[in-house]
Each structure stands twice: as structure tokens, then as C-alpha cells.
């Protein structure tokens, strides 16, 4: 919204501060001036305002003048627009009936005859419409329409001018009948709903009440007689009608937030005065010249609300210390609230206390706390002291915070960057990656089809980020994300519950994370990813970690993984995730050329395990001895078999066997088809002695025996 300071000052001749100072003072009191544009010599400025939705009363020139008057303790004259005396007519006053007493609180109508519809001019100081309308983003249409728009800019009261001769009978404010049609001012032919609020005549709907006028009764150059409407409509009723028709107009904006019940006659006078400046006359009846239909119940809860009790002690309890020693006093409360239009009467309750009568234009003021806010606001927020409250409780971190930090820290050290991907994916991606099919949660109003469902897995986002990097010619990618995945449970077609679980995704392609000129770069492979996962798992206290492979026909491996290069990760028997090479079909669909390694860990499961607590153990002072065994194995025998054989050998017991590992795996021409060679390294060490040669010989033969039993033969 834009404000002309020239128009503002027309209401407040005593305002002596500069526009810049005014902008600053208004802003600090919550009437935010976002931008100032100086219009040059003597013409003041335009303020671009950003006014919070609760302060709809201040979204106009007079409303801001009220605020300025309160800030600078100035007298603000009430708005009044004198009209020429009406021409008496003998017939009955124009007929106005409010049928919907819950939705229309007031409807005023004034009949102007023989008016000249023409171009607007600069009507009076503070109403230079011809000069300034364009600057205020208003289109000049005709004096009648411009007058209603000016009333909106000046005092925030929506009004409407009808071509009186198109109205049959009188006005009825009613609900529409289902299926009734109305062409609105935007040229749209609308089919009305039984809940729509309309201003109608005795034959047809004329306008969507409080939202937009009708096409057929609009002012044209041929219009001679005008009916000026100024009314008060119920916020919810207007909101429902506007929403249903997808409309958001100045009028609906105001009515939805609560208009000033008392403003209608004033705005009607303003519009009439402007229209009559070019000729014409007011129809007068025995009852007066303004038909003013009101609903007492609504008047009581807007213009005549019961007073609010306010205690100084409560003001001080909520607001606390001020920078000056005096603080918020009786005088502060009385000055501020009086300046804002409240009437204060001393209350018999423990003094100092008041009974505050509220101004009709501030429907946002309803409770004691609302008045306390007004006091703080006008007094100035920055005049309150900065103090810290005392506190004696302990501080609790999230129970999984340490685990999250451990997992994150490990992956950072492994060279993975942390990423955050979008929360949504397409239904197809969800189907591909959901750990439990058929429980995907869809959005009712998605931003796009590609972002139509809540991600059931972090994999779609990870693949999208990898693709993004490759697209930008970044070929080495190592990313992880820790985030929420979603699954729903539905009953009778309604999503009842959405489960959220924390997950961790890893993704990598390109080269392994080592950078230097002298070492040959190598591709990041399955075992790099597995290693990173192992290192994360190693931070947790568990008895056993397994990496399983399932035959393709078992259908257990997720569809996004290469069936023969994928592993299920199990910690203490519980599946905690999957990892492997992206399925070539998925890689091809995304135009990935180099292999892409991906994995997902279910953190809700992993985080059930405690973190491993480091514990020292005795380190032997005696020399360790390493022995290597060159084994030949059938392809069907996996390392796991040898590993298990060594583990049971150690447990047999052979405590001197302190370490074993696969040192090298290779295939060469001297081996038979379907065989491979494995160099097994075993280390022996005792805590209490140097191992003797005969002992070592015995250990060695026990290793040979164990691996033989596992299916390996020694290479000779």
C-alpha cells in the first residue's frame, strides 16, 4: 500500500516533523514504512507501507494520520464531508432490507440524481486524484468510480456506486440462491452458491457483497442517477464468498479483517460530496437523505463492545523494566490509550485500574493483553531495558543428538559432504525407493508433479543431487544426507497417520577422495562405500554387523540396487540399511556413465543402539608375528567363510591369534577356472611372552587346518 504524505498532512495540519522522521517514528511503532520516495519541492513523499494484517484500520491515509496523532500527541479532527441540502421528495425512502442479520451489520444507501459522469479532477486539498492516482497505482476510470476508490484510499472504507436506473425495486442483502448467475465487474459470469453473500435488488443479484460489484449495474458515461452504498459485512461471510470465487479485492481484504462499523455514513458522504461537485442533487425523504439499515446485534459487538478491564500491575507484569527509572506509569497508560481513541474510566478494581471503551475502528483490540501491546508499542519497544531472566533448571540435549553427531562426524572424515535435498519426489521415484511399498503419502496441493509425494526414502533426492553435479561437469561426488522419510497409514481412502523416520543416505561417483599429483587416482568403488558405512557402524556398540547378499530371485534387494553388487546391512540381526551400486537400468535412465554407489541407513533402527564407549585394554609388550597364507578358493566360497573360520579358531580358544585380514585377492592364469587366490594375513601375539618358534608352527598348522575345513587349499 502507498501513502502520500501530502494527503496525510491534510488531516494533521499540526504535524511538523519531516517525512523521513515520520517514516522512522511510524516504523518503530509497527506502522512499517518500507520505502520513501521524495516527490520533489513541496509535494511531500510517497511511503511504501508494509502493514501487518491485524492493523487493517491503518491501511489508509486517515488511519495512519491517527497513528501519527497518537505518536506526536496531536489533535486529529474527525472526518466530515458537508453535503448540499437534499431535495425533498414525497415518496418513501429507498428500500433497503438486510435479510442476513448474521452477515451484514449495516447497509447505507444514498440516492444521487442528475449527476454528471465524467473525468476526475483534483477535487480538494488532500484529494488531488487527477494528479496522484497514477502514483498510488490507481487507474482513473470515472468520477464515480474514482470517488469510491478515493474513499478507500482516504479512510479504508469500501463503498460502491450503482447505476440506480438498473436497480429494480430496492436493495436486499441476502444469500444467493444456488445456481443464480452474476456477471461481476471483472467481466466474469459467475454461478453463485447458496452460501454466497450478495447485494441484490428485488429481481436479481447486483454484486458479491463486500467483494466485487456487478457488471450490469456499473456506472457508465450514460449513468444519470447513482446509488451510493457503504456497508459493513461480516469477515467470515466475505472471506468464504471471496475464497469460493477465487477473488481477493481491496474490499474483501478490508471486510475480512473487520471494517469500522461507524465509517459507512462518513464514506458515503465523501463519495456523494465528490460526485455532486459536478452537479446533481440528493434525494431527501421525511426520514433524512441516508437510508441506514443496521443490525443491532452486530452493532453491539463492533461499535459498542463492552469495556475491557485493565490494571497497571498487569501492564508491568508483562512488560517489565524500562530504561528510564520511572517506567510505565498511570499517565503513560492514560495518554497512550486516549490518543488511540479508547475512553478510560477508573475501575473500582485494585487501583490503578481502568475500564477501557474501545474505538469502533480497532476490532483487533479485544483483551487486556491487546491494550498492553498498544501501550508498549506507542511507548516505544526500544525504551524497555534488556535484562536476562534467572533460571535454575538443567539443559537437556536431544537423546539422539550425540549419535547424530557421531555419524555425521565419521562421514565428514570419510570425505562426504553433507547435503540437504528436497522433501518431495515423484510418485514413480517413491515407488522405486519406498522400503515398504504402497504407503506413500501424497500432497493435496503439490508444487509440481515431480514433487507430488513425501519422500519415502532419501535415495531419490540423492540421485537428483548426483545428477545435478554431473550436469554441472562435477564428476567426483560424495554426499550424504540425514533427513526425515515418510510413510502413511490410510483407512477408507483417508490418510490417517504419517510416520516420520530419520534416515541417512550416501551417494558417490567418480574418484576416491584423495587428491595429490603423485598418486594414481582411482575410482570410488563398492568397498569405499562399504568402508564408510562400516566406519559409521563402528561408532555404535553392537555384537555383530553382517553384510548380506540375496539371490536376485528372492526379490529382497531394493529395485534401485544392482542385484549382484548390493548388500543388506544388518546390525545385531536387524536390517539397518542397504548399499551398493545403482542398478544399471536406473543409471542409464539418468544418463550416468560412471558407476554410482548409493546406500541408505535407517537411523531410527541404528539409533536404538548405544554409542560405543571407548575402553582401554592391555597392549602386549611382546613382539607380534605375522604369517601369510596363500589360499586358493572356489568362486563360490566368499571371504565371509574364511573370516568365520578364523573367528571360530580364535574362539577355540587361540587368544594369540590377534588379527587376520584379506591382504590381497587376485585371479591369475595358473589357477583353474572358477578359482581365485586369496592372501590371508594372520598376526599372533601373546600378552605374557615372546612366542616361540614351535608355538608359531603349531598356530600356523591350526590356521591351515581351519581354512582347509572352510574349503580353501594352500597354494604351493
Amino acid at each position: 500500500m502507498k501513502i502520500l504524505t501530502k494527503w496525510l498532512r491534510a488531516y494533521l495540519p499540526g504535524l511538523s516533523v519531516s517525512d523521513a522522521q515520520l517514516a522512522e517514528d511510524l516504523t518503530l511503532r509497527g506502522i512499517a514504512v518500507e520505502g520513501i520516495c521524495d516527490l520533489g519541492s513541496g509535494n511531500g513523499s510517497i511511503f511504501a507501507m508494509d502493514i501487518t494484517t491485524n492493523r487493517v484500520d491503518a491501511m489508509n491515509h486517515y488511519g495512519i494520520a491517527r497513528e501519527a496523532a497518537a505518536i506526536y500527541a496531536l489533535e486529529l479532527p474527525a472526518l466530515a464531508f458537508p453535503l448540499p441540502a437534499p431535495r425533498p421528495c414525497s415518496q418513501r425512502p429507498f428500500s433497503v432490507a438486510i435479510e442476513v442479520e448474521d452477515a451484514c451489520g449495516r447497509f447505507t444507501a444514498r440516492v444521487l440524481r442528475d449527476v454528471a459522469i465524467g473525468e476526475s479532477r483534483d477535487w480538494f486539498p488532500g484529494a488531488e486524484v487527477s494528479t496522484y492516482f497514477a502514483l498510488l497505482d490507481q487507474k482513473k476510470i470515472s468520477n464515480a468510480v474514482d470517488a469510491t476508490n478515493f474513499a478507500w484510499l482516504a479512510m479504508g472504507q469500501p463503498t460502491h456506486a450503482f447505476d440506480l436506473d438498473k436497480i429494480e425495486g430496492g436493495i436486499v442483502v441476502r444469500r444467493a440462491r444456488k445456481g443464480e448467475r452474476l456477471k461481476t465487474l471483472d467481466g466474469v459470469e459467475r454461478v453463485l452458491d447458496a452460501d454466497d453473500l450478495v447485494v441484490a435488488d428485488h429481481a436479481k443479484p447486483l454484486a458479491l457483497a463486500g467483494v466485487m460489484g456487478g457488471w450490469d449495474t456499473m456506472i457508465t458515461p450514460a449513468t444519470k442517477n447513482v446509488l451510493v452504498e457503504a456497508a459493513w459485512f461480516d469477515p467470515m461471510a466475505v472471506r468464504r464468498t471471496a475464497r469460493r470465487h477465487g477473488l481477493h479485492t481491496d474490499a474483501s481484504h478490508r471486510f475480512e479483517r473487520g471494517a469500522d462499523f461507524n465509517a459507512a455514513p462518513v464514506a458515503s458522504a465523501l463519495v456523494s460530496a465528490i460526485l455532486l461537485a459536478g452537479g446533481g442533487w440528493i434525494e431527501g425523504w421525511a426520514e433524512g437523505d441516508l437510508v441506514d439499515a443496521r443490525v443491532a446485534a452486530i452493532e453491539a459487538r463492533t461499535a459498542h463492545r463492552p469495556p475491557i478491564e485493565l490494571k497497571l500491575s498487569e501492564v508491568q507484569r508483562i512488560l517489565g523494566r524500562t530504561e528510564d527509572a520511572e517506567g510505565i506509569t498511570t499517565a503513560t497508560v492514560e495518554d497512550v490509550l486516549a490518543a488511540l481513541g479508547c475512553k478510560l474510566a477508573p475501575s473500582p478494581a485494585a487501583p490503578p485500574a481502568w475500564s477501557a471503551t474501545l474505538p469502533s475502528w480497532r476490532l483487533d483490540l479485544e483483551r487486556e493483553i491487546d491494550l498492553i501491546e498498544e501501550i508498549a508499542r506507542v511507548y516505544g519497544y526500544n525504551r524497555f531495558a534488556n535484562t536476562l531472566p534467572a533460571f535454575g533448571e538443567g539443559v537437556r540435549a536431544l537423546p539422539w543428538a550425540e549419535k547424530e553427531t557421531a555419524a555425521r562426524g565419521t562421514l565428514l572424515a570419510c570425505g562426504f559432504h553433507e547435503a540437504i535435498a528436497g522433501t518431495f519426489c515423484s510418485a514413480a521415484e517413491a515407488e522405486l525407493t519406498a522400503p515398504q511399498p504402497g504407503q506413500v503419502v501424497a500432497l493435496g496441493n503439490p508444487l509440481s508433479e515431480e514433487a507430488g509425494v513425501l519422500r519415502p526414502s532419501l535415495i531419490p533426492g540423492m540421485l537428483a543431487m548426483i545428477a545435478g553435479n554431473l550436469h554441472r561437469d562435477v564428476s567426483d561426488v560424495r554426499l550424504f544426507e540425514m533427513g526425515t522419510v515418510f510413510s502413511g497409514s490410510a483407512a477408507n481412502g483417508t490418510v490417517e497417520k504419517v510416520d516420520e523416520r530419520p534416515a541417512l543416505a550416501l551417494g558417490a561417483t567418480g574418484l576416491a577422495p584423495e587428491e595429490g599429483p603423485l598418486h594414481a587416482p582411482r575410482a570410488f568403488d563398492f568397498f569405499d562405500l562399504k568402508g564408510a558405512v562400516e566406519q559409521v557402524l563402528a561408532r555404535f556398540d553392537m555384537r555383530a554387523v553382517y553384510f548380506d547378499r540375496f539371490p536376485a530371485e528372492a526379490g529382497l534387494t531394493p529395485a534401485w540396487l544392482h542385484p549382484y553388487r548390493a548388500a543388506r546391512v544388518a546390525a545385531d540381526g536387524l536390517t539397518v540399511g542397504w548399499l551398493g551400486e545403482l542398478h544399471p537400468r536406473e543409471a542409464a535412465a539418468r544418463k550416468f556413465k560412471a558407476p554410482v554407489l548409493v546406500g541408505e541407513l535407517y537411523l531410527d533402527r541404528l539409533f536404538k543402539l548405544p554409542l560405543r564407549k571407548p575402553a582401554a585394554r592391555e597392549i602386549s609388550r611382546f613382539q607380534p608375528v605375522r604369517r601369510d597364507f596363500s589360499l586358493v578358493l572356489d568362486e563360490s566360497i566368499a571371504w565371509e567363510t574364511i573370516d568365520r573360520a578364523m573367528a571360530s579358531l580364535q574362539a577355540s580358544p587361540l587368544p594369540e591369534l590377534i588379527d587376520w585380514r584379506a591382504r590381497e585377492v587376485f585371479r591369475d592364469a595358473r589357477l583353474a577356472r572358477g578359482e581365485y587366490a586369496l592372501l590371508l594375513g594372520a598376526t599372533f601375539q601373546a600378552l605374557d611372552r615372546t612366542l616361540r618358534e614351535e608355538e608359531l608352527k603349531e598356530f600356523q598348522s591350526r590356521v591351515e587346518e581351519a581354512v582347509n575345513k572352510a574349503g580353501a587349499r594352500l597354494r604351493t
Binding site: L28, T52, T53, N54, M236, R317, I318, L319, G320, R321, I369, I372, E373, A376, R377, Y381, F384, A385, N386, T387, L388, P389, F391, E393, G394, R396, A397, R408, L412, A413, G415, H417, E418, A419, I420, A421, G422, T423, V441, L443, N445, P446, L447, M462, A464, N469, V474, D476, R478, L479, F486, G488, N492, G493, T494, V495, V498, E514, E515, L518
Partner: protein
């Protein structure tokens, strides 16, 4: 190389002199055998032939001076022979030896100007990093950490935060809703939370006052992406409820927090705003961290940057909390709440201009935060 002092000479007959010089020769040879580089050679030369503290000088001054006149000639002769031995035989040989030792090392020379081999480290996401910074500032002020679900009910996201059904304030938060909710009552309908504020209510329902909690989390809105908007963003929410909590405590707490986050020179100012769940409500500006408040492009010449929203907890919110925890009696307790956008703070702290960079997983962007 040991620099034992030269023994005093007591007998000056030929035999004793020969013995003394033979010992000197052995000593020099023993030391020379250990010489294996040009540095060691230089040290050897200085220790024997140095002008001030060389051992040769010492021999000359101690032995020649102490010698009876009749022995001076014999002594001088032997001294000169020894000097000759040092200068020619020993030093020449040593020179050869050190040169070849140096050459062997030189063959192993490295171009130490080549870059070191780096095991590349991963970078914590700037949002995670900023969020934990904010959380630790408040942890130091006694705030525990809380979280809540990203999919919320209308009740927690709106109604209990004092956005009644049909309230225009709901329009300011374009909400992404879960499909197929029409059959449920409005309050139970599921949506993606538009702010972290619902965790205020979830916390109060579980714990009676006093409460001090800080809530980091992800939120979503139905906003098309541009330089400063994203359908995803993160907030850190705070809530402090106790007896005697005042607006001036709110000011002091946030002033302290902003100084902790942005440096002690930062100033704060508060001005009125509107949030349905707080009253009085305030927006907080900090003095521009780029220009120190003088006015620059970043702060649109104002010297101030708007950073967060806050206010005293609205009694209507306490009324909702009271349904489960009667201790939230707005006549007896009071509190404040605040919320800040993590992206905005991270963008300021790290000079990021596009909010979309946070969610692209771009390796080039993320590596800047290692």
C-alpha cells in the same frame, strides 16, 4: 662432536711430546670418522681450526706457552706437522667423503613445492552448522533442545497457535497439505508444518512450566522457488515460560543471542509486528553486520537488517496448553517465544545470495564449508 678441553702437558721430552700429539691425532681421526655431511665437516673444521675457540689454537696457547724454552723447538715442529695433517690429509679426505654423501641424499630430493596429498574432508552443511551455532548460544542460556514432526495437524500448526479456522493470518503461510484429508475434522487434518511454532504447544503439553526450549527444524511452504524463497527452509524456535517473564527479558535474551551470533558490536532494535501466537509481538533488527550500521547495499542503506520475529506468548496459546497442563495459567505465568530463519542467517554469515544453493547438493558449493 665433543670439545674436550686440551689436557695440560707436564713432560716435554720427545717421547712425551710424540705421545701427546699421537693422542691428538687419534682424537681428530675419531671425530673425523663420524663426519658424513658438509654441515658436519664445517663443524669439524671450526672445532679444530676455528680462530677463537679452535682446538689447535688452544694447543698452541697452552702447550707452547707452558713449554720450557729448550723444548719449544721440538714442540713447534710437531705442532706444525699436526696442523699440516689436519689441513691436508684429514680435511681433504673429509671433503671428498661429505661430498659423496651429499650427492646420495641429493638424489633423493623432493619437489617440496608440489601440493601435499590430501585425504579430502567432508563439509558440514552450512544450515546444520548455523543451526547448531544458534542452538549452542541458547543452550548456554539454559535452553534445552526440542523437536517435533514435520507433518503436523491443523490443530498444532494453526489452531493452537491462535490461528482460528478462517483467520486471514492463515493466508500469510501458504500451506502444503496432505492429500485425502477431507473426511477428517479440520483440526485433525495433516499438513506440512509451516513453522516450528507447533513444537511450542507440544512441549507445553508435556511439561509444566518452567520451560526453556529451543527448537531447530525443517518447515515447508507452498512457495515457488526464487533467490530468497524456497518450499523448504529451516527455523529455530525458542520458548521461555516461567513466573515473572517480561518483555524486557525477551529483549535482553535476544540482544544477548544476537551479540553471541554476530559479534559483541552488534546492536538490536525491536519494533512492533504481528503474529497470532504472541502479544505484544516484535520484529528484531540487528545493526548491519556488513557496514556496522553506516548504510550499505546489503542493508538497503538503512544500517539495519531484519532478522527474527518474537513476542510475549499470547494468553490464548496458554489457554490451549492449559487443556493438558493446568499450570499454564496466564494470570500466574508469562513467557516469550521467538523464531528465526536459519537460511537467512546462514546467507548473511556466509555471503550466500541464492537460497536454492542450500538444497542442490552442489559439491563446489559444499566444499566451501570444509
Amino acid at each position: 662432536m665433543t670439545n674436550d678441553s686440551i689436557p695440560n702437558l707436564t713432560a716435554f721430552d720427545d717421547e712425551s711430546l710424540d705421545k701427546a700429539f699421537a693422542e691428538l691425532r687419534d682424537q681428530a681421526k675419531a671425530v673425523a670418522d663420524a663426519v658424513d655431511s658438509s654441515e658436519a665437516l664445517e663443524a669439524f673444521r671450526l672445532s679444530w681450526l676455528g680462530r677463537k675457540q679452535g682446538r689447535l689454537n688452544e694447543v698452541s696457547s697452552r702447550w707452547l706457552k707452558a713449554a720450557p724454552p729448550e723444548a719449544k723447538k721440538a714442540l713447534g715442529q710437531r705442532f706444525n706437522e699436526f696442523k699440516q695433517f689436519l689441513l691436508t690429509e684429514l680435511l681433504l679426505e673429509l671433503d671428498q667423503r661429505s661430498k659423496s654423501a651429499d650427492a646420495a641424499l641429493k638424489a633423493q630430493a623432493l619437489d617440496i613445492t608440489l601440493p601435499g596429498t590430501r585425504r579430502l574432508l567432508g563439509a558440514e552443511h552450512p544450515i546444520t552448522r548455523t543451526m547448531s551455532e544458534i542452538v549452542s548460544v541458547f543452550a548456554a542460556l539454559g535452553y534445552s533442545v526440542g523437536v517435533g514432526p514435520e507433518v503436523e495437524t491443523d490443530y498444532y500448526n494453526f489452531e493452537s497457535m491462535n490461528f482460528p479456522p478462517g483467520h486471514p493470518a492463515r493466508d500469510t503461510q501458504d500451506t502444503l497439505v496432505i492429500a485425502s484429508q477431507e473426511r477428517k475434522p479440520l483440526r485433525d487434518r495433516l499438513l506440512l508444518r509451516t513453522h516450528t511454532s507447533p513444537v511450542q504447544m507440544r512441549t507445553m503439553e508435556l511439561e509444566p512450566p518452567p520451560v526453556r526450549i529451543v527448537i531447530p527444524g525443517k518447515v515447508h511452504r507452498n512457495d515457488a522457488a526464487d533467490a530468497t524463497h524456497s518450499p523448504i527452509f529451516h527455523q529455530v524456535e525458542g520458548l521461555c515460560v516461567d513466573t515473572h517473564i517480561t518483555f524486557s527479558h525477551l529483549k535482553g535474551t535476544l540482544d544477548h543471542a544476537m551479540k553471541a551470533l554476530f559479534g559483541s558490536a552488534v546492536k538490536t532494535r525491536f519494533f512492533p509486528s504481528f503474529f497470532p501466537f504472541t502479544e505484544p509481538s516484535a520484529d528484531v533488527q540487528i545493526s548491519c553486520i556488513f557496514c556496522g550500521g553506516k548504510g550499505c547495499r546489503k542493508c538497503k542503506q538503512s544500517g539495519w537488517i531484519e532478522l527474527l520475529g518474537c513476542g510475549m506468548v499470547d494468553p490464548a496459546v496458554f489457554a490451549f496448553a492449559r487443556e493438558k497442563q493446568p499450570a499454564y495459567d496466564p494470570k500466574k505465568i508469562s513467557g516469550f517465544a521467538f523464531g528465526m530463519g536459519v537460511e537467512r542467517i546462514a546467507m548473511m554469515k556466509y555471503g550466500i545470495s541464492e537460497i536454492g544453493q542450500f538444497y542442490a547438493g552442489d559439491m563446489r558449493f559444499l566444499s566451501l564449508f570444509v
